[in-house]
Amino acid sequence: MKKEFDELLKQALTPSDEPDFWLNQKILNQGKERGNMEIKKIKRLPALALSTALILATGSITVFAAWKYLTPDKVAERVKDGKLTEAFTGADAIAVNETQSYSGYDVTFLGIVSGENLADKQAFTNGTLATDRSYIAVAIENSDHSPMADTSDESYSITDFFVSVLIKGYEPWMYNTASMNGGFTEFTEDGVTYRLVECDNVEIFADCGLYLCVSEGTFYNEKAYVYDAATGEITRNEEYTGLNALFDLPIDASKGDKEAAARYIEDLFSSHETEPETQPLDPEAEEIKEWAARLTPENISEYCEIIESSVLTPDADGYIQYSFDSEEYGGCSGSINVPLYFKEKPQMVIHNCTFADNEFSSLRIETLTLNEDGTVTFAVHIPKQS
Protein backbone atom coordinates (compact mmCIF):
# COMPACT_ATOMS: atom_id res chain seq x y z
CA MET A 1 0.00 0.00 0.00
CA LYS A 2 2.81 2.39 1.00
CA LYS A 3 4.60 1.56 -2.22
CA GLU A 4 1.45 2.14 -4.28
CA PHE A 5 0.87 5.40 -2.55
CA ASP A 6 4.47 6.46 -3.13
CA GLU A 7 4.12 5.59 -6.80
CA LEU A 8 0.94 7.62 -7.04
CA LEU A 9 2.65 10.60 -5.46
CA LYS A 10 5.63 10.29 -7.78
CA GLN A 11 3.40 10.04 -10.82
CA ALA A 12 1.18 12.94 -9.82
CA LEU A 13 4.13 15.14 -9.03
CA THR A 14 6.24 14.37 -12.09
CA PRO A 15 7.64 17.73 -13.17
CA SER A 16 5.31 18.96 -15.87
CA ASP A 17 5.64 22.73 -15.77
CA GLU A 18 7.97 24.08 -18.40
CA PRO A 19 9.52 27.49 -17.89
CA ASP A 20 8.62 29.92 -20.61
CA PHE A 21 11.17 30.08 -23.46
CA TRP A 22 11.56 33.82 -23.03
CA LEU A 23 12.08 33.48 -19.30
CA ASN A 24 15.04 31.19 -19.99
CA GLN A 25 16.32 33.57 -22.65
CA LYS A 26 16.10 36.43 -20.18
CA ILE A 27 18.17 34.50 -17.63
CA LEU A 28 20.68 33.50 -20.29
CA ASN A 29 20.99 37.09 -21.47
CA GLN A 30 21.61 38.16 -17.93
CA GLY A 31 24.07 35.42 -17.25
CA LYS A 32 26.78 36.26 -19.73
CA GLU A 33 30.17 34.88 -18.91
CA ARG A 34 31.61 36.17 -15.72
CA GLY A 35 34.62 38.30 -16.34
CA ASN A 36 33.21 39.80 -19.48
CA MET A 37 30.14 41.04 -17.73
CA GLU A 38 29.68 41.97 -14.14
CA ILE A 39 26.29 41.50 -12.56
CA LYS A 40 24.75 44.51 -10.94
CA LYS A 41 21.86 44.46 -8.62
CA ILE A 42 18.79 46.53 -8.89
CA LYS A 43 19.03 48.65 -5.81
CA ARG A 44 15.92 49.09 -3.77
CA LEU A 45 14.47 51.66 -1.51
CA PRO A 46 13.24 50.01 1.68
CA ALA A 47 9.57 50.60 1.00
CA LEU A 48 9.43 48.64 -2.20
CA ALA A 49 9.45 45.06 -3.32
CA LEU A 50 10.52 45.08 -6.94
CA SER A 51 9.80 41.90 -8.81
CA THR A 52 13.09 41.44 -10.63
CA ALA A 53 16.43 41.27 -8.97
CA LEU A 54 19.30 41.63 -11.36
CA ILE A 55 20.40 43.62 -14.34
CA LEU A 56 23.54 43.59 -16.41
CA ALA A 57 26.19 46.12 -17.01
CA THR A 58 26.59 47.21 -20.57
CA GLY A 59 29.83 47.44 -22.38
CA SER A 60 29.19 49.96 -25.11
CA ILE A 61 28.89 53.69 -24.84
CA THR A 62 26.24 55.67 -26.65
CA VAL A 63 26.40 59.41 -26.74
CA PHE A 64 23.77 61.50 -28.39
CA ALA A 65 24.61 64.72 -30.12
CA ALA A 66 22.27 66.90 -28.09
CA TRP A 67 22.73 64.97 -24.86
CA LYS A 68 25.84 64.71 -22.83
CA TYR A 69 24.41 61.71 -21.02
CA LEU A 70 22.25 58.77 -21.97
CA THR A 71 18.75 59.83 -22.88
CA PRO A 72 15.95 58.53 -20.59
CA ASP A 73 14.94 55.87 -23.11
CA LYS A 74 18.53 54.63 -23.28
CA VAL A 75 18.65 54.48 -19.50
CA ALA A 76 15.52 52.28 -19.60
CA GLU A 77 17.04 50.24 -22.40
CA ARG A 78 20.17 49.64 -20.32
CA VAL A 79 18.07 48.13 -17.55
CA LYS A 80 16.40 45.87 -20.11
CA ASP A 81 12.95 47.34 -19.85
CA GLY A 82 11.55 47.43 -23.37
CA LYS A 83 8.17 48.88 -22.46
CA LEU A 84 9.71 51.68 -20.47
CA THR A 85 12.18 52.38 -23.28
CA GLU A 86 9.21 52.88 -25.56
CA ALA A 87 7.35 54.95 -22.98
CA PHE A 88 10.28 57.36 -22.70
CA THR A 89 10.11 57.96 -26.45
CA GLY A 90 6.32 58.41 -26.43
CA ALA A 91 4.31 61.61 -26.55
CA ASP A 92 3.67 61.64 -22.79
CA ALA A 93 7.35 61.53 -21.86
CA ILE A 94 8.94 64.78 -20.77
CA ALA A 95 12.60 65.28 -21.65
CA VAL A 96 14.24 67.74 -19.26
CA ASN A 97 18.04 67.49 -19.57
CA GLU A 98 18.75 70.10 -16.91
CA THR A 99 21.94 70.03 -14.87
CA GLN A 100 22.59 71.44 -11.39
CA SER A 101 26.01 71.37 -9.74
CA TYR A 102 26.50 71.25 -5.98
CA SER A 103 29.13 69.87 -3.65
CA GLY A 104 31.27 68.43 -6.40
CA TYR A 105 28.47 66.67 -8.28
CA ASP A 106 26.78 67.46 -11.58
CA VAL A 107 23.22 66.18 -11.30
CA THR A 108 21.18 66.01 -14.48
CA PHE A 109 17.46 65.46 -14.44
CA LEU A 110 17.06 63.61 -17.72
CA GLY A 111 13.31 63.12 -17.96
CA ILE A 112 10.08 61.73 -16.58
CA VAL A 113 7.18 59.66 -17.83
CA SER A 114 4.02 58.68 -15.96
CA GLY A 115 1.10 56.38 -16.65
CA GLU A 116 -0.43 52.94 -16.48
CA ASN A 117 1.52 49.80 -17.38
CA LEU A 118 4.53 51.59 -18.72
CA ALA A 119 7.18 49.10 -17.66
CA ASP A 120 7.99 45.42 -18.00
CA LYS A 121 9.30 45.29 -14.45
CA GLN A 122 6.49 46.15 -12.16
CA ALA A 123 6.60 46.66 -8.45
CA PHE A 124 4.42 45.02 -5.82
CA THR A 125 2.83 47.28 -3.26
CA ASN A 126 0.80 45.72 -0.48
CA GLY A 127 0.78 42.47 -2.37
CA THR A 128 -0.68 43.82 -5.59
CA LEU A 129 1.01 44.94 -8.75
CA ALA A 130 1.58 48.68 -8.85
CA THR A 131 0.81 49.65 -12.41
CA ASP A 132 0.17 53.40 -12.31
CA ARG A 133 3.64 54.81 -11.85
CA SER A 134 6.01 57.68 -12.54
CA TYR A 135 9.52 56.93 -13.81
CA ILE A 136 12.31 59.48 -13.51
CA ALA A 137 15.77 59.22 -15.05
CA VAL A 138 18.70 61.05 -13.45
CA ALA A 139 22.43 61.16 -14.22
CA ILE A 140 24.98 61.95 -11.50
CA GLU A 141 28.59 62.71 -12.30
CA ASN A 142 31.57 64.01 -10.39
CA SER A 143 32.06 67.65 -11.40
CA ASP A 144 35.76 67.01 -11.94
CA HIS A 145 34.75 64.17 -14.29
CA SER A 146 36.54 61.55 -12.23
CA PRO A 147 34.53 58.33 -12.63
CA MET A 148 31.72 57.58 -10.18
CA ALA A 149 31.98 54.30 -8.28
CA ASP A 150 30.58 51.46 -10.30
CA THR A 151 27.95 49.32 -8.60
CA SER A 152 30.42 46.43 -8.73
CA ASP A 153 33.21 48.47 -7.09
CA GLU A 154 34.16 47.92 -3.48
CA SER A 155 33.67 51.63 -2.82
CA TYR A 156 30.14 51.67 -4.18
CA SER A 157 27.44 52.36 -1.63
CA ILE A 158 23.74 52.02 -2.11
CA THR A 159 23.24 54.87 0.32
CA ASP A 160 25.09 57.46 -1.68
CA PHE A 161 22.12 59.40 -2.98
CA PHE A 162 18.50 60.04 -2.22
CA VAL A 163 16.51 60.94 -5.33
CA SER A 164 12.86 61.69 -4.75
CA VAL A 165 9.79 63.49 -5.90
CA LEU A 166 8.55 66.05 -3.37
CA ILE A 167 5.14 67.71 -3.37
CA LYS A 168 4.48 71.35 -2.61
CA GLY A 169 2.32 71.61 0.49
CA TYR A 170 3.19 68.14 1.81
CA GLU A 171 5.87 67.58 4.46
CA PRO A 172 8.82 66.27 2.46
CA TRP A 173 10.12 63.97 5.22
CA MET A 174 6.78 62.21 5.18
CA TYR A 175 5.74 62.34 1.52
CA ASN A 176 8.56 61.27 -0.72
CA THR A 177 9.50 58.44 -3.03
CA ALA A 178 10.17 56.07 -0.14
CA SER A 179 6.68 56.44 1.30
CA MET A 180 5.09 56.55 -2.15
CA ASN A 181 6.03 52.94 -2.83
CA GLY A 182 9.19 53.96 -4.60
CA GLY A 183 12.22 52.09 -5.77
CA PHE A 184 15.12 52.57 -8.09
CA THR A 185 17.52 50.91 -10.46
CA GLU A 186 21.07 52.17 -10.67
CA PHE A 187 24.07 51.50 -12.87
CA THR A 188 27.26 53.29 -13.77
CA GLU A 189 28.36 53.67 -17.33
CA ASP A 190 31.30 55.61 -18.66
CA GLY A 191 31.94 57.04 -15.20
CA VAL A 192 28.41 58.41 -14.84
CA THR A 193 25.87 56.99 -12.41
CA TYR A 194 22.38 56.65 -13.85
CA ARG A 195 19.42 56.19 -11.61
CA LEU A 196 15.95 55.25 -12.74
CA VAL A 197 13.56 56.10 -9.94
CA GLU A 198 9.95 54.97 -9.82
CA CYS A 199 7.08 55.67 -7.49
CA ASP A 200 3.30 55.91 -7.59
CA ASN A 201 2.07 58.23 -10.36
CA VAL A 202 2.59 61.79 -9.16
CA GLU A 203 0.59 63.47 -11.92
CA ILE A 204 -2.40 63.82 -9.60
CA PHE A 205 -0.32 66.29 -7.61
CA ALA A 206 0.65 68.33 -10.68
CA ASP A 207 -1.54 71.28 -9.72
CA CYS A 208 0.11 71.47 -6.28
CA GLY A 209 3.58 71.82 -7.69
CA LEU A 210 6.19 69.07 -7.79
CA TYR A 211 9.92 68.93 -7.22
CA LEU A 212 12.70 66.44 -7.69
CA CYS A 213 15.33 66.44 -4.96
CA VAL A 214 18.74 64.80 -5.19
CA SER A 215 20.80 64.73 -2.02
CA GLU A 216 23.26 62.46 -0.27
CA GLY A 217 22.15 59.74 2.12
CA THR A 218 19.54 57.02 2.26
CA PHE A 219 16.52 59.04 3.30
CA TYR A 220 15.13 62.52 2.95
CA ASN A 221 17.73 64.88 4.34
CA GLU A 222 16.08 67.55 6.48
CA LYS A 223 19.24 69.62 6.60
CA ALA A 224 19.49 69.87 2.84
CA TYR A 225 16.12 71.49 2.19
CA VAL A 226 13.80 73.97 3.82
CA TYR A 227 10.08 73.31 4.04
CA ASP A 228 7.89 76.36 4.61
CA ALA A 229 4.82 75.00 6.36
CA ALA A 230 2.90 78.24 5.71
CA THR A 231 3.28 78.28 1.93
CA GLY A 232 4.14 74.62 1.34
CA GLU A 233 7.19 75.73 -0.64
CA ILE A 234 10.29 73.53 -0.57
CA THR A 235 13.60 75.21 -1.27
CA ARG A 236 17.28 74.35 -1.12
CA ASN A 237 18.99 75.18 2.13
CA GLU A 238 21.59 77.62 0.84
CA GLU A 239 23.72 77.14 3.93
CA TYR A 240 23.95 73.39 3.50
CA THR A 241 27.33 72.44 2.14
CA GLY A 242 26.46 68.97 0.82
CA LEU A 243 24.57 67.98 -2.30
CA ASN A 244 21.05 69.40 -2.39
CA ALA A 245 19.87 69.73 -5.97
CA LEU A 246 16.21 70.63 -6.43
CA PHE A 247 14.43 70.63 -9.77
CA ASP A 248 10.91 71.59 -10.72
CA LEU A 249 9.01 68.65 -12.12
CA PRO A 250 7.52 70.02 -15.31
CA ILE A 251 4.22 68.14 -15.32
CA ASP A 252 1.22 69.85 -16.88
CA ALA A 253 -0.81 71.30 -13.97
CA SER A 254 -4.05 70.32 -15.72
CA LYS A 255 -3.21 66.68 -14.99
CA GLY A 256 -3.63 67.40 -11.28
CA ASP A 257 -6.64 65.89 -9.55
CA LYS A 258 -7.23 67.21 -6.05
CA GLU A 259 -9.81 64.58 -5.12
CA ALA A 260 -7.68 61.71 -6.34
CA ALA A 261 -4.68 63.21 -4.56
CA ALA A 262 -6.60 63.43 -1.27
CA ARG A 263 -7.77 59.83 -1.66
CA TYR A 264 -4.24 58.71 -2.45
CA ILE A 265 -2.80 60.38 0.65
CA GLU A 266 -5.52 58.86 2.81
CA ASP A 267 -4.98 55.38 1.33
CA LEU A 268 -1.23 55.66 1.52
CA PHE A 269 -1.14 55.75 5.27
CA SER A 270 -4.30 53.84 6.06
CA SER A 271 -3.03 50.92 3.99
CA HIS A 272 0.19 50.92 5.99
CA GLU A 273 -1.73 51.04 9.23
CA THR A 274 -4.25 48.33 8.42
CA GLU A 275 -1.90 46.09 6.52
CA PRO A 276 -1.23 43.56 9.29
CA GLU A 277 -4.90 42.74 9.71
CA THR A 278 -5.89 42.28 6.07
CA GLN A 279 -5.72 38.50 5.90
CA PRO A 280 -6.73 35.92 8.49
CA LEU A 281 -3.89 33.81 9.78
CA ASP A 282 -3.75 30.06 10.18
CA PRO A 283 -4.43 28.93 13.74
CA GLU A 284 -0.75 27.99 14.21
CA ALA A 285 0.28 31.43 13.02
CA GLU A 286 -2.23 33.06 15.33
CA GLU A 287 -0.75 31.15 18.24
CA ILE A 288 2.77 32.26 17.39
CA LYS A 289 1.60 35.83 16.90
CA GLU A 290 -0.19 35.82 20.24
CA TRP A 291 2.88 34.44 21.96
CA ALA A 292 5.08 37.09 20.37
CA ALA A 293 2.59 39.83 21.24
CA ARG A 294 2.99 39.01 24.93
CA LEU A 295 6.70 39.80 24.78
CA THR A 296 7.75 43.12 26.21
CA PRO A 297 11.16 44.76 26.62
CA GLU A 298 10.85 43.87 30.32
CA ASN A 299 10.12 40.15 29.94
CA ILE A 300 11.88 39.26 26.71
CA SER A 301 15.03 38.02 28.48
CA GLU A 302 12.86 35.64 30.50
CA TYR A 303 11.38 33.94 27.44
CA CYS A 304 13.99 34.48 24.76
CA GLU A 305 17.70 34.21 24.25
CA ILE A 306 19.89 36.45 22.12
CA ILE A 307 21.53 34.74 19.17
CA GLU A 308 23.25 37.80 17.76
CA SER A 309 23.74 41.41 18.78
CA SER A 310 25.73 44.35 17.56
CA VAL A 311 26.33 47.88 18.81
CA LEU A 312 25.78 50.45 16.08
CA THR A 313 26.90 54.07 16.05
CA PRO A 314 24.62 56.53 14.25
CA ASP A 315 26.14 58.39 11.30
CA ALA A 316 26.32 62.19 11.07
CA ASP A 317 22.63 62.33 10.09
CA GLY A 318 21.57 60.07 12.94
CA TYR A 319 21.02 56.89 10.92
CA ILE A 320 22.08 53.35 11.74
CA GLN A 321 21.96 50.38 9.42
CA TYR A 322 21.46 46.93 10.85
CA SER A 323 21.52 43.53 9.24
CA PHE A 324 21.30 39.89 10.16
CA ASP A 325 21.65 36.74 8.09
CA SER A 326 21.35 33.16 9.17
CA GLU A 327 20.65 29.89 7.40
CA GLU A 328 18.14 28.90 10.04
CA TYR A 329 16.41 32.15 10.85
CA GLY A 330 16.60 33.97 7.53
CA GLY A 331 17.87 37.47 7.10
CA CYS A 332 16.87 41.06 7.55
CA SER A 333 18.35 44.47 7.10
CA GLY A 334 17.13 47.97 7.62
CA SER A 335 17.94 51.47 8.59
CA ILE A 336 16.45 53.88 11.11
CA ASN A 337 16.90 57.47 12.09
CA VAL A 338 17.80 57.10 15.77
CA PRO A 339 16.50 60.43 17.18
CA LEU A 340 13.22 60.12 15.27
CA TYR A 341 12.80 56.43 16.05
CA PHE A 342 13.31 56.76 19.80
CA LYS A 343 11.56 60.12 20.07
CA GLU A 344 8.45 58.69 21.66
CA LYS A 345 9.60 55.18 22.37
CA PRO A 346 11.09 53.50 25.42
CA GLN A 347 14.80 52.83 25.64
CA MET A 348 14.32 49.30 24.35
CA VAL A 349 11.94 48.51 21.51
CA ILE A 350 10.74 45.22 20.08
CA HIS A 351 11.35 46.27 16.52
CA ASN A 352 10.08 43.30 14.55
CA CYS A 353 8.98 39.68 14.88
CA THR A 354 8.98 37.23 12.01
CA PHE A 355 8.42 33.53 11.55
CA ALA A 356 8.26 31.10 8.66
CA ASP A 357 6.11 28.13 7.72
CA ASN A 358 3.94 28.68 10.81
CA GLU A 359 6.69 27.10 12.87
CA PHE A 360 7.31 28.37 16.35
CA SER A 361 10.94 27.29 16.12
CA SER A 362 11.49 29.78 13.30
CA LEU A 363 10.32 32.76 15.35
CA ARG A 364 12.82 35.59 15.38
CA ILE A 365 12.49 38.78 17.39
CA GLU A 366 14.55 41.89 16.70
CA THR A 367 15.09 44.53 19.35
CA LEU A 368 16.70 47.94 19.29
CA THR A 369 18.06 49.46 22.47
CA LEU A 370 19.21 53.05 22.78
CA ASN A 371 22.35 53.10 24.91
CA GLU A 372 23.40 55.95 27.16
CA ASP A 373 26.32 56.86 24.91
CA GLY A 374 23.97 57.31 21.93
CA THR A 375 24.83 54.00 20.27
CA VAL A 376 22.10 51.48 19.51
CA THR A 377 22.22 47.77 20.22
CA PHE A 378 20.54 45.67 17.58
CA ALA A 379 19.77 42.19 18.91
CA VAL A 380 18.14 39.11 17.43
CA HIS A 381 16.32 36.84 19.87
CA ILE A 382 14.74 33.41 19.58
CA PRO A 383 12.41 31.70 22.07
CA LYS A 384 14.21 29.76 24.79
CA GLN A 385 14.17 26.03 24.16
CA SER A 386 12.41 25.03 27.39
Binding site: K10, L13, G31, I39, G127, G330, C353, D357
Partner: protein, 178 residues
Protein backbone atom coordinates in the same frame (compact mmCIF):
# COMPACT_ATOMS: atom_id res chain seq x y z
CA UNK B 1 29.01 29.90 -13.63
CA UNK B 2 29.84 30.39 -17.30
CA UNK B 3 27.22 30.87 -20.00
CA UNK B 4 27.59 27.28 -21.30
CA UNK B 5 27.22 26.01 -17.73
CA UNK B 6 24.15 28.15 -17.23
CA UNK B 7 22.66 26.99 -20.52
CA UNK B 8 23.35 23.38 -19.61
CA UNK B 9 21.72 23.83 -16.20
CA UNK B 10 18.65 25.46 -17.69
CA UNK B 11 18.28 22.77 -20.33
CA UNK B 12 18.90 19.92 -17.93
CA UNK B 13 17.18 21.09 -14.78
CA UNK B 14 14.97 23.98 -15.91
CA UNK B 15 11.79 21.92 -15.97
CA UNK B 16 12.50 20.32 -12.59
CA UNK B 17 13.35 23.61 -10.93
CA UNK B 18 10.42 25.41 -12.51
CA UNK B 19 7.93 22.71 -11.52
CA UNK B 20 9.27 22.86 -7.98
CA UNK B 21 8.91 26.67 -7.94
CA UNK B 22 5.42 26.41 -9.41
CA UNK B 23 4.19 24.03 -6.71
CA UNK B 24 6.01 25.75 -3.91
CA UNK B 25 4.64 29.20 -4.72
CA UNK B 26 1.18 28.25 -6.06
CA UNK B 27 1.38 31.27 -8.32
CA UNK B 28 2.76 31.58 -11.85
CA UNK B 29 4.19 35.07 -11.40
CA UNK B 30 5.83 34.13 -8.11
CA UNK B 31 7.13 30.90 -9.65
CA UNK B 32 8.70 32.76 -12.57
CA UNK B 33 10.31 35.23 -10.18
CA UNK B 34 11.60 32.47 -7.93
CA UNK B 35 12.90 30.47 -10.91
CA UNK B 36 14.65 33.51 -12.30
CA UNK B 37 16.02 34.61 -8.93
CA UNK B 38 17.33 31.09 -8.30
CA UNK B 39 19.46 31.04 -11.45
CA UNK B 40 20.58 34.63 -11.04
CA UNK B 41 21.58 33.96 -7.45
CA UNK B 42 23.52 30.91 -8.61
CA UNK B 43 25.36 33.11 -11.12
CA UNK B 44 26.00 35.73 -8.46
CA UNK B 45 27.38 33.16 -6.04
CA UNK B 46 29.72 32.07 -8.79
CA UNK B 47 30.02 28.47 -7.67
CA UNK B 48 31.31 26.20 -10.37
CA UNK B 49 28.56 23.91 -11.46
CA UNK B 50 29.56 20.44 -12.48
CA UNK B 51 28.12 16.98 -12.23
CA UNK B 52 30.17 16.26 -9.11
CA UNK B 53 28.58 18.88 -6.92
CA UNK B 54 24.95 17.99 -7.57
CA UNK B 55 23.82 21.08 -9.48
CA UNK B 56 20.14 20.22 -9.14
CA UNK B 57 20.35 19.99 -5.36
CA UNK B 58 22.40 23.17 -5.28
CA UNK B 59 19.82 25.07 -7.35
CA UNK B 60 16.96 23.66 -5.30
CA UNK B 61 18.66 24.73 -2.09
CA UNK B 62 18.93 28.27 -3.45
CA UNK B 63 15.24 28.23 -4.41
CA UNK B 64 14.25 26.95 -0.95
CA UNK B 65 16.29 29.63 0.79
CA UNK B 66 14.97 32.46 -1.37
CA UNK B 67 11.40 31.29 -0.90
CA UNK B 68 11.81 30.80 2.84
CA UNK B 69 13.11 34.33 3.22
CA UNK B 70 10.32 35.70 1.09
CA UNK B 71 7.65 33.75 2.95
CA UNK B 72 9.10 34.86 6.26
CA UNK B 73 8.28 38.44 5.44
CA UNK B 74 4.87 37.56 4.10
CA UNK B 75 4.09 35.36 7.07
CA UNK B 76 4.41 38.29 9.37
CA UNK B 77 2.98 40.96 7.18
CA UNK B 78 0.31 38.77 5.70
CA UNK B 79 0.41 40.65 2.47
CA UNK B 80 -0.19 38.00 -0.12
CA UNK B 81 -3.78 36.97 -0.28
CA UNK B 82 -4.94 33.49 -1.09
CA UNK B 83 -1.90 31.49 -2.02
CA UNK B 84 -4.22 28.81 -3.23
CA UNK B 85 -5.92 31.02 -5.79
CA UNK B 86 -3.02 31.17 -8.15
CA UNK B 87 -2.45 27.43 -8.27
CA UNK B 88 -3.05 25.86 -11.64
CA UNK B 89 -6.29 24.04 -11.14
CA UNK B 90 -7.10 23.61 -14.79
CA UNK B 91 -5.43 20.92 -16.81
CA UNK B 92 -4.33 23.29 -19.51
CA UNK B 93 -2.28 25.29 -17.08
CA UNK B 94 -0.38 22.29 -15.84
CA UNK B 95 0.29 21.15 -19.35
CA UNK B 96 -1.93 18.11 -19.09
CA UNK B 97 -4.04 17.40 -22.12
CA UNK B 98 -7.75 18.13 -21.83
CA UNK B 99 -8.66 16.03 -24.84
CA UNK B 100 -11.27 13.32 -24.14
CA UNK B 101 -9.57 10.18 -22.87
CA UNK B 102 -10.80 6.67 -22.09
CA UNK B 103 -12.54 6.44 -18.72
CA UNK B 104 -9.62 4.76 -17.03
CA UNK B 105 -7.18 7.37 -18.13
CA UNK B 106 -9.58 10.10 -17.04
CA UNK B 107 -9.92 8.55 -13.61
CA UNK B 108 -6.18 8.39 -13.36
CA UNK B 109 -5.84 12.05 -14.27
CA UNK B 110 -8.50 12.98 -11.74
CA UNK B 111 -6.69 11.01 -9.10
CA UNK B 112 -3.41 12.72 -9.91
CA UNK B 113 -5.06 16.07 -9.79
CA UNK B 114 -6.52 15.28 -6.38
CA UNK B 115 -3.05 14.29 -5.19
CA UNK B 116 -1.52 17.53 -6.49
CA UNK B 117 -4.20 19.60 -4.84
CA UNK B 118 -3.75 17.74 -1.61
CA UNK B 119 0.02 18.28 -1.71
CA UNK B 120 -0.67 21.91 -2.39
CA UNK B 121 -2.62 22.20 0.84
CA UNK B 122 0.24 20.88 2.97
CA UNK B 123 2.04 23.35 5.23
CA UNK B 124 5.14 24.70 3.51
CA UNK B 125 7.57 22.83 5.76
CA UNK B 126 6.02 19.51 4.70
CA UNK B 127 5.27 20.50 1.12
CA UNK B 128 8.92 21.38 0.47
CA UNK B 129 10.04 17.94 1.64
CA UNK B 130 7.32 16.12 -0.35
CA UNK B 131 8.22 18.02 -3.53
CA UNK B 132 11.92 17.38 -3.11
CA UNK B 133 11.32 13.68 -2.44
CA UNK B 134 8.59 12.79 -4.93
CA UNK B 135 8.93 15.45 -7.59
CA UNK B 136 12.68 16.00 -7.61
CA UNK B 137 13.45 12.45 -6.47
CA UNK B 138 16.18 13.50 -4.06
CA UNK B 139 17.29 11.11 -1.33
CA UNK B 140 16.64 11.85 2.35
CA UNK B 141 20.31 12.80 2.76
CA UNK B 142 20.18 15.12 -0.23
CA UNK B 143 17.00 16.78 1.07
CA UNK B 144 18.65 17.26 4.46
CA UNK B 145 21.49 19.04 2.72
CA UNK B 146 19.17 21.18 0.54
CA UNK B 147 16.87 22.26 3.36
CA UNK B 148 19.64 22.25 5.96
CA UNK B 149 17.85 20.15 8.54
CA UNK B 150 18.85 16.78 10.03
CA UNK B 151 18.01 13.67 8.01
CA UNK B 152 15.87 12.45 10.90
CA UNK B 153 13.72 15.58 10.63
CA UNK B 154 13.34 14.97 6.89
CA UNK B 155 12.12 11.43 7.60
CA UNK B 156 9.71 12.60 10.25
CA UNK B 157 8.31 15.32 8.00
CA UNK B 158 7.91 12.84 5.16
CA UNK B 159 6.04 10.53 7.52
CA UNK B 160 3.82 13.37 8.75
CA UNK B 161 3.12 14.48 5.19
CA UNK B 162 2.22 10.94 4.09
CA UNK B 163 -0.21 10.59 6.98
CA UNK B 164 -1.91 13.86 6.11
CA UNK B 165 -2.06 13.03 2.41
CA UNK B 166 -3.39 9.53 3.04
CA UNK B 167 -6.14 10.94 5.20
CA UNK B 168 -6.87 13.72 2.76
CA UNK B 169 -6.99 11.34 -0.18
CA UNK B 170 -8.85 8.56 1.61
CA UNK B 171 -12.01 8.98 -0.45
CA UNK B 172 -10.18 9.17 -3.76
CA UNK B 173 -8.05 6.14 -2.95
CA UNK B 174 -11.02 4.10 -1.77
CA UNK B 175 -12.99 4.98 -4.89
CA UNK B 176 -10.17 3.68 -6.96
CA UNK B 177 -10.09 0.37 -5.14
CA UNK B 178 -13.87 -0.19 -5.35
Amino acid sequence: MTKPELELCINKYGKDIFSFCRYLTCNLQEAEDLYQDTFLKAIELGEKIDAGNQPKGYLLSIAVKIWKNKKRKYAWRKRIANWEEGFPDSDTETGISTEPTPEEALLCKEEERAVRQSVQRLPDRLKTIVLLYYMEELSVAQIASVVKIPAGTVKSRLHQARKILEKDLEVVLNEERI
